[in-house]
Symmetry: C2
Subunit: 267 residues, 2 copies
Amino acid sequence: MSHPFDDSIALEWLGEDRWQGATSEAYWNMVGPFGGTIAALLLRAALDHPAREGQPVALTVNFCATLAKGAFTIAARPARTNRSTQHWTMELVQADGTIAATGTALFGARPETFAHRPATPPIAPPFETLSRFAGGFSGWVERFDMRFAEGGPETAEVPGPARSLLWIVNDPPRPLDFPGLAALCDIFFGRIIHVRRRMVPFGTITMTAYFHATDDDLAAAGAAPVLGLADARIFDRGFHDQSAELWTADGRLLATSHQLVYYRDPQ
Amino acid sequence: MSHPFDDSIALEWLGEDRWQGATSEAYWNMVGPFGGTIAALLLRAALDHPAREGQPVALTVNFCATLAKGAFTIAARPARTNRSTQHWTMELVQADGTIAATGTALFGARPETFAHRPATPPIAPPFETLSRFAGGFSGWVERFDMRFAEGGPETAEVPGPARSLLWIVNDPPRPLDFPGLAALCDIFFGRIIHVRRRMVPFGTITMTAYFHATDDDLAAAGAAPVLGLADARIFDRGFHDQSAELWTADGRLLATSHQLVYYRDPQ
């Protein structure tokens, strides 16, 4: 039996830089698929393209419109291939012609070089000692076992902290790969909800992920819980930012991601 | 007399979503134009397009190839217009057909909403009390009066700090606008140079900027010095990240930006 995440990011090659896919119910959000699956789909469209060279290093996904249930195509074309980096442009178009997402991706060779890691891993109690977030407000949330160490949705404080620290693992378990990592980059609930402690209209409109792990690092990470840290700098006039880090339990930074989130919440 | 920055981002409308431009010497970097002018050009191509609605909120620019001296065209087309946001896709193509840069931009309405600003402005000695960085290694550096409060290139420490805090003002002075702000997002020297304290082959391959200011905020900021803070989380196997903030002297966060930078530096 295939994993529901793999079902939700299945693509059929049409040739000429195009893929065919269809939405899946398993990771449904309130009005469309979980954005993480859209990020994973756009990355896959380039990653699995026969002309792709190198490992994923950066991905930007713009969420243009709620993706309607049904079929869609993704165009992914190499814009430029350099000696050790390759730039891609992607576009997801639903059956009625609406462009639902655009994106760009970068791939590169990952030779050994000077390395330096000023960022230190956040400190959290072990996964096993925390209890699972009992979400249930959205189908996709059930596909992850999330355990908050800080800034969970049950925090009583108003305004709540913009910062959250949590363990995340796929349910059912699934070994990490680049599409899975791209999806984890979008897993954090909107910071506006954490701060306001109530639902307001909101949605991520753009996300950029930087991948600091290689294929070998992801193989080593396997299906173990990943520690996610998300925070925001500013909420102002309809938009807020978010920056996030994804760490292995043994302190390797797998990815960093940044978002701009739309919200509407009168004073 | 026009400002050299305006000369360097001059574009002529060709119709059908296309602009014509040419490289300028005033902001020359070692082998091509300062990336900030390319970011400003891609933003302008959408910002000045007759179909544009709303104010700039996000910009991603991928630096695909060194832009050769001479003419280029920029294609900028609206991918999706929603009720209060608009998504754009841009591509800069030089005369020989090479795609030198790709990008996406987001525009949006900026109504008054709930606001919250967890990020606090960095503290630096006043602009007037610091001395100007005497760079000179690259033409574009002369176009900015940069005054380091922390982590300047003269720091003796090896590895040097990844974090820099500096005042920045255009030379000659120029009132802030969105293209100018987009260029400031790319003004920070490669963190790898700050850490290694010597030149190594490097270059920004992608930058994402989030604009937290409106037209009115930029008009209020005028031509005054802006306080820039840049830092990095990880340098590993050929790539490092960078996150930066741009603040007014009175503590308004104008923009945040994030980059992935390519470097080659054997152990």
